[in-house]
Symmetry: C2
Subunit: 187 residues, 2 copies
């Protein structure tokens, strides 16, 4: 199992004094905790517990990257995103990434590389997304969940850079995954 | 005001049938909505409404980038992050970025460049983070909120790349912001 690299510093660390469940939904659980701060004060911490997810930068043999267009209800817009999905309970993240790639895009990949695991919004949730690079793609068949309505595109690296620059591609996990590769001179 | 670039596609779009407030906290509001999907089915959408935030890649004259170390209660660890903070109601995002940089790091910047706006986790929240590049830094004085306990580092680009590669720097907004610059060959 993959774990975030934890840094310890007693001068910064908080401790839990109390935890109260505030909402339990199908996907999200919300807690209101009371934390003791390192300066001795107490503060309220509202947090959303999430099962975590996996996401894939899937690169075709010609160098194009698979991007999905999907409506995101919370933001009220169709967005570009790399293929991704929530972990099933106890599921290995790479298994999840393979499953989501094949279900959502109809592709399987011969080569899988783990990139990193991101904390999507550490101020209020424990959600992490495990990021992978998939190459050696071959077409299989798309098996969307009945409630998933997704269209797929493949963008060249130049088209990706243009979409990033002009604000068309703004999904954080996608930018983080492609940016991870760019920072390490792999894209 | 900055708006996300919205893509429209009636074959993908959902519509709201019902919205029920499920939790109202100091920072977060949770709603359980019923949405009509483009395939005619209905589905539940759990969403967290968030005021939004701004974050800054602040580069010193010698090329080092300011990174904060801060305890993140939701994840139970100290993390590296670029300076960032929530928008006050109605606040201009660049004003927020300038305020957070000066409060958290004690630096002011002569030059500000808007990079992009990311959707942190579009599957369940409307949170967006406006990303900026700040250069021409000069030291001023740190004015932390009483409940903010933050330590500051400055990492060279090589140290940043190493921290990204080895999983020490995994905050999504920080990776997205640095990755945005790397994708556009500016870092």
């Amino acid at each position: 199992m993959i774990h975030l690299k934890k840094m310890h510093d007693p001068e910064l660390e908080e401790s839990r004094l109390d935890s109260r469940p505030a909402f339990e939904g199908r996907m999200l659980k919300v807690f209101v905790d009371t934390a003791k701060l390192p300066n001795g004060r107490t503060s309220t911490r509202e947090l959303v517990r999430h099962p975590g997810a996996a996401a894939v930068v899937a690169v075709l043999p010609d160098g194009r990257v698979l991007l999905e267009r999907q409506y995101r209800y919370a933001l009220g817009t169709v967005m570009y995103e790399v293929p991704a999905g929530k972990l099933d309970p106890g599921e290995d993240p790479e298994h999840c990434a393979r499953r989501e790639l094949s279900e959502e895009t109809g592709y399987k990949a011969d080569h899988w590389e783990y990139l990193t695991t991101i904390a999507t919004t550490p101020g209020f949730t424990d959600e992490v997304i495990h990021l992978y690079l998939a190459t050696g793609l071959h077409r299989f068949a798309q098996h969307l969940d009945p409630d998933e309505v997704i269209k797929m595109d493949a963008l060249t690296p130049e088209e990706i850079r243009k979409a990033v620059a002009d604000g068309t591609l703004y999904d954080a996990k996608s930018l983080a995954a492609l940016g991870f590769l760019a920072l390490l001179k792999k894209f």
